[in-house]
């Protein structure tokens, strides 16, 4: 238990070092990884795993995955990422992905938050209201 806490604490410190101007910086992450590789220490793999998890979470927080069925204009994607950046108070970049199972509309995922404006979800809510 204590060892787990120590590993998580160390990984968090590494994550702090990976920020520049409040944002995750690729160069700094690279630097952290190189330093870790050079100074091989105890619990290297668990520390790396914990660090990876934290970095993934940070990346997810700054990425809006826009799933869409049909065509999505680049202007709309830019507008969505701009609005989300304002909402979350950090730079949110957008990644688009086509998903035909949505039937129509789009679904935006930012970390834990899901904004669903798809036909598939409307149909699912209609189904539950009828049952």
């Amino acid at each position: 238990m204590t060892q787990d806490k120590q590993i998580k604490g160390f990984a968090k410190q590494l994550l702090k070092m990976s920020f520049e101007n409040g944002e995750l910086c690729v160069e700094r992450v690279d630097g952290v990884l190189k330093t870790l590789e050079k100074n091989n220490q105890r619990h290297q793999i668990p520390v790396l795993k914990a660090y990876l998890k934290l970095v993934e979470r940070e990346v997810a927080k700054s990425t809006a995955v826009i799933s869409h069925a049909g065509r999505l204009s680049p202007e709309l994607a830019t507008s969505i990422s701009k609005q989300l950046s304002t909402k979350y108070g950090r730079n949110v970049r957008s990644v688009t992905r086509e998903d035909r199972s949505l039937i129509g509309g789009l679904c935006v995922v930012v970390d834990c938050d899901v904004y669903d404006a798809s036909i598939a979800s409307s149909l699912a809510s209609l189904e539950s209201s009828l049952s």
Binding site: C112, Y115, D116, S121, S122, S125
Partner: protein, 510 residues
């Protein structure tokens, strides 16, 4: 057919194609009815969360990196990586009069095969108990129909009276008798058309019981006509620990509805020992630190926050009440174990049932010395106080003397008289199960005991004499019983009437 189409068209028209925002997470591990979830950054403590397939869970551990949640219901279909959604609502259950006569599970879903429950209201399962300002002293009686309890350990509306004893000593029987008695009183009161009459509705919460026991209780309540005033919340032994942990709070939420709407309700928690064990199981699986007897540190708070919800509220808050009869099972009569001492200190008194008395045929096996009601005497009706004021002391003295008298043969006249009287009182208080006695009959019989009408009757015939006197009262002196019930005290007129009635009975009994 056309109406169905119209209905569907209307539902489609009402359907809004707006963006739905949800907070989600992913299952990391799942096992023993507990899931660890990554994500759910906006989840609240005790919030309902939705697993795939419509399964509901409650978020109980909000940790730095993950959320620990208990799954309510089947968890076999859940797997790592499944999406979990926040619902934004605290766990709530349906409440209201429509629940009466029904058997429901820990989530308030019907399990008696009588169809859906059409409830328009819900109450949160966890709720803060009424505060000091909202409360009022206990001042109205709640008759159990059990002579020894109503006369010596009276219970008031809004009180928490613990029923404690070893297994098989009649704890559930006392609770069921009380529920049956409330139904009997409700029937008489509602039939009388008295506008001031306040019926008492009952909630029986079965935690970790065998399904056969719950079915037997249900059968008894149905047979005695008490089910129509009762809600049964069942989380049997086969249910998950999470459901067993929730069931008492569900029952309390239903009882609180009656209290907050100006009505009186009675809730039986059968039993809190199993509830504590279920909570221990859940806490250990959630990896919460364990303390004494492996119970988590907040096991006292588990029961205190539940029992504090039973209260008598003042006129400004509806003037309702919720009386609680929690049950605790002891091991070898050990009252000083962890959970019994916790619950004893929370409640306003306890009825202790002794195995020895039970085996001697003294049923209900109430131990007079160890039983107490801390607030109930303020609610006892004057008539009972007049006829039973000294009985508890006499009976306690008798138990002590009876133990002492075994060692000596020569006893003085006073001691002999005390023993004679004590043995008669013990016989008088014997009462068969599921046969509560109306308070006016109890007063009549105790008046006869106080006025020495049973002194010349052989001890072995006291039960028979008491039954005969009650039959006499109910068949031939109905008016007298009604005036005891209405006046609630024995004045000179009533005293004369009782004397002439008991004299009349005595000649016929001899």
């Amino acid at each position: 057919m056309s109406s169905v189409i119209e209905q569907i068209e209307q539902q489609i028209a009402n359907l809004q194609s707006k963006t739905v925002a949800t907070n989600t997470g992913k299952i990391l591990t799942v096992g023993d009815g507990v899931a660890k979830i990554d994500g759910l950054s906006e989840v609240m403590y005790n919030e309902m969360i939705e697993f795939p397939g419509g399964t509901i869970g409650i978020a109980l551990n909000l940790e730095e990196d993950e959320v620990g949640a208990v799954v309510l219901g089947e968890s076999n279909h859940l797997k790592e990586g499944d999406e979990v959604k926040c619902t934004g609502t605290l766990l709530s259950v349906p409440v209201g009069k429509c629940m009466l006569g029904r058997v429901v599970d820990a989530l308030g879903r019907p399990m008696d095969g009588k169809g859906i429950i059409d409830s328009s209201e819900t109450n949160p399962v966890e709720k803060i108990a009424p505060g000091i300002i909202e409360r009022k002293s206990v001042d109205q009686p709640l008759m159990t129909g059990i002579q020894s309890i109503d006369s010596m350990i009276p219970i008031g509306r809004g009180q928490r009276e613990l029923i404690i004893g070893d297994r098989g000593t009649g704890k559930t029987t006392i609770a069921i008798d009380t529920i049956i008695n409330q139904a009997n009183i409700n029937k008489v009161g509602l039939a009388s058309g008295d506008p001031d009459f306040r019926p008492v509705y009952s909630i029986y919460v079965a935690v970790g019981q065998k399904n056969s026991n719950v079915a037997r209780t249900l059968g008894i309540l149905e047979e005695k006509g008490a089910l129509e005033y009762t809600i049964i919340v069942s989380a049997p032994a086969a249910d998950s620990a999470a459901n067993q942990y929730l069931a008492p709070y569900t029952g309390a939420a239903m009882g609180e509805w009656f209290m907050s709407n100006g009505m009186d309700a009675l809730i039986v928690y059968d039993d809190l020992s199993k509830h504590a064990a279920a909570y221990r199981q859940m806490s250990l699986v959630l990896k919460r630190p364990s303390g004494r007897e492996a119970y988590p540190g907040d096991v006292f708070y588990l029961h205190s926050r539940l029992l504090e919800r039973s209260a008598r509220v003042n006129e400004a808050n509806g003037n309702g009440s919720l009386t609680a009869l929690p049950i605790i099972e002891t091991l070898a009569g050990d009252l000083s174990a962890y959970i019994p001492t916790n619950v004893i200190s929370i409640t306003d008194g306890q009825i202790f049932l002794e195995t020895d008395l039970f085996n001697q045929g003294i049923r209900p096996a109430v131990s007079v010395g160890l039983s107490v009601s801390r607030v109930g005497s303020a609610a006892q009706i004057k008539a009972t106080k007049q006829v039973a004021g000294k009985i508890k002391l006499e009976l306690a003295q008798f138990r002590e003397l009876a133990a002492f008298a075994q060692f000596g043969s020569d006893l003085d006249a006073k001691t002999k008289a005390q023993l004679e009287r004590g043995s008669r009182i013990v016989e008088l208080f014997k009462q068969p199960a599921f046969n509560p006695i109306p308070i006016e009959q109890q007063v009549g019989v105790l008046w006869a005991m106080q006025n020495n009408y049973f002194d010349d009757i052989d001890v072995s015939k006291i039960v028979e004499a008491s039954n005969s006197l009650r039959d006499f009262f109910s068949s031939r002196k109905e008016a007298l019983l009604t005036s005891i019930r209405e006046k609630s005290k024995i004045d000179d007129d009533l005293d004369r009437e009782l004397k002439s009635a008991v004299d009349e009975w005595k000649t016929s009994f001899n």
